[in-house]
């Protein structure tokens, strides 16, 4: 039992360290990819190919004044970014990041807790994550922040529905909520991937995943052109940075979820071992998010709601219905 606790603590610390470093690295990758797609060079001068730009950004964020506006609700203003970052990392607890491997003769399962409601836990935690922007916007006594938090409420709540409904059909097929069961269900190679039997659910999940991670076609929460910076208007320094660590961690989580549920997870892919395979899949999904940001404009809030309630939700319900009928017959 002691060994179990120690192993869990070590895993939690490792995940926290690696994923937050990856989230920082994600900002660099995002700037580079966006620059290349616009035929620019991106950050080039800090370190080789601008790699130390992350460190420069980190130093800047840490040394900036931690500013709390006079009219703000201090306590809520201070804990709101922590909610975003914390829930993003807690959601990763039920996600198996790599296949089992042996190190020093000990078999390591790279998942903090393989609970039987894994998927539900992840979605619930990402849902709780909406409290971060919501409280941040409402606590800062700023009209842009208030509009940002109002948009948070409508956007995240609406797309929660689509996420849940789109995942329901794969859950019906697998018959379990554990992400490891999802992975084992698709063990037979590419032809067994759930994306082939549930293409619509995959697309719906991606769309709602973009909305829940606040990525470009749906980045209405902090849309600079309309509402300055939305819920993050009054934030500075590391509190602002925590929102971004949370956002990039959520992107990584969505990448892992899509790879595990639809794209075969960490099963070996031909000659590629499973660990490399899932890293490749998640990297592609991360790249897809940046690619979409470079290519597409974002939608208006009313178009966002129209898309969610009038297109995506009926499609998701229809998908569940058809899946159910096919499974019964």
């Amino acid at each position: 039992m002691d060994g179990y606790i120690i192993a869990t603590v070590i895993k939690a610390i490792l995940i926290l360290a690696i994923i937050s470093a990856l989230a920082g690295f994600g900002t660099y990758i995002e700037r580079k990819i966006l620059a290349f797609m616009q035929r620019r060079l991106g950050p080039m001068h800090v370190g080789p190919y601008g790699l130390l730009q992350i460190a420069a950004d980190g130093i800047k964020l840490f040394t900036k004044e931690d500013f709390i506006p006079q009219g703000a609700n201090r306590i809520i203003f201070m804990i709101a970014p922590i909610i975003t970052a914390a829930t993003a990392f807690i959601a990763l607890a039920a996600v198996p990041l790599l296949p089992e491997f042996e190190i020093f003769g000990i078999t390591v399962r790279p998942i903090v807790s393989d609970m039987n409601i894994g998927l539900l836990f992840v979605i619930a935690m990402m849902g709780v994550g909406l409290y971060g922007p919501l409280l941040a916007g409402m606590a800062q006594e700023n009209k842009w922040g208030l509009i940002g938090s109002a948009r948070t409420a409508i956007q995240f709540l609406s797309y929660e529905v689509v996420t849940g409904l789109s995942l329901l059909a794969p859950i019906m097929m697998v018959g379990s909520l554990s992400l490891i069961d999802f992975n084992n269900y698709q063990a037979g190679g590419i032809s067994n991937w759930i994306i082939w039997s549930q293409p619509l659910a995959f697309i719906l999940f991606l769309i709602s995943g973009f909305a829940e991670t606040n990525r470009t076609p749906f980045d209405l929460l902090e849309n600079e052109a309309e509402i300055i910076s939305g819920y993050a208007t009054e934030y500075s320094g590391m509190r602002w940075g925590m929102f971004f660590i949370g956002e990039y961690t959520n992107m990584i989580t969505i990448g892992f979820l899509a790879a595990l549920i639809f794209l075969g997870g960490f099963n070996p892919l031909g000659f590629i071992p499973g660990g490399i395979a899932i890293i490749l899949k998640v990297s592609f999904l991360f790249f897809l998010m940046l690619w979409v940001r470079a290519a597409w404009p974002h939608v208006r809030p009313d178009q966002l709601m129209w898309l969610c309630w009038k297109v995506l939700m009926p499609l998701a319900v229809l998908n569940i219905l058809v899946t159910g009928i096919v499974m019964m017959v």
Partner: protein
């Protein structure tokens, strides 16, 4: 970007064409049909294709647009009017300026000031010649009016200074004597036209 492309930019005569945009549908059924058409035709993927193509072009086909400015510079037009230069006669190496004072007279910003005297050969000699670049508007009149092609515009356009009045002396602008063979004529206002030799007629005395 090569100099040739830079000069042939053809501003104003590009082939603009109107997009054949369909009218916005009025009814709900029309809107639904448009959504269906747009999603089934996968128009969204065209945008992804374009950005990916641009990335491939930038990374592997050498079409990156960024110019790392202080390290590399775009070519400027040879007629660009930047900081002045004083040219020398190619044969003797003596400065071309004859001290006529026309540039001082025509300068509309009143930034050129010169002083001359007769030397021992009764030749005009420039004793003082300054240009106040804080006042100069780089209009090019001085280069245009100069009968000897002595004062011209060079290519040095980075002219930030710590003081509002930044004076340049005659010696600063004069071509260094060891750089004489690299001295270039200025093709802008006041320069000899390219077909000048054809336009010259012999004086009647030569017949």
């Amino acid at each position: 970007m090569s100099l040739n492309n830079f000069k042939d930019r053809n501003v104003g005569v590009q082939n603009y064409r109107l997009l054949d945009l369909e009218p916005t549908p009025k009814t709900g059924w029309g809107k639904f049909k448009r959504v269906l058409r747009r999603s089934v035709k996968l128009e969204l993927l065209v945008g992804l294709k374009v950005t990916f193509r641009e990335m491939i072009k930038a990374l592997f086909m050498g079409e990156m647009h960024t110019v790392k400015y202080p390290f590399e510079k775009l070519p400027i037009s040879p007629r660009y009017r930047a900081i002045h230069q004083m040219l020398r006669l190619l044969e003797s190496g003596h400065y071309r300026c004859i001290g006529c004072g026309l540039c001082e007279k025509i300068c509309i910003a009143d930034c050129i000031r010169m002083d001359t005297r007769y030397d021992e050969n009764q030749r005009k000699e420039v004793t003082e010649y300054t240009i106040n670049f804080g006042r100069c508007i780089f209009c090019g009149y001085c280069a245009e009016v100069c009968p000897e092609l002595a004062i011209v515009h060079g290519g040095r356009y980075e002219v930030a200074s710590e003081q509002r009045a930044e004076y340049a002396l005659f010696e600063d602008m004069l071509t260094p004597i060891d750089q004489l063979k690299n001295q270039k004529e200025y093709p802008g206002f006041g320069a000899v036209s390219p077909n000048a030799d054809e336009n010259i007629k012999k004086t009647p005395l030569a017949y």
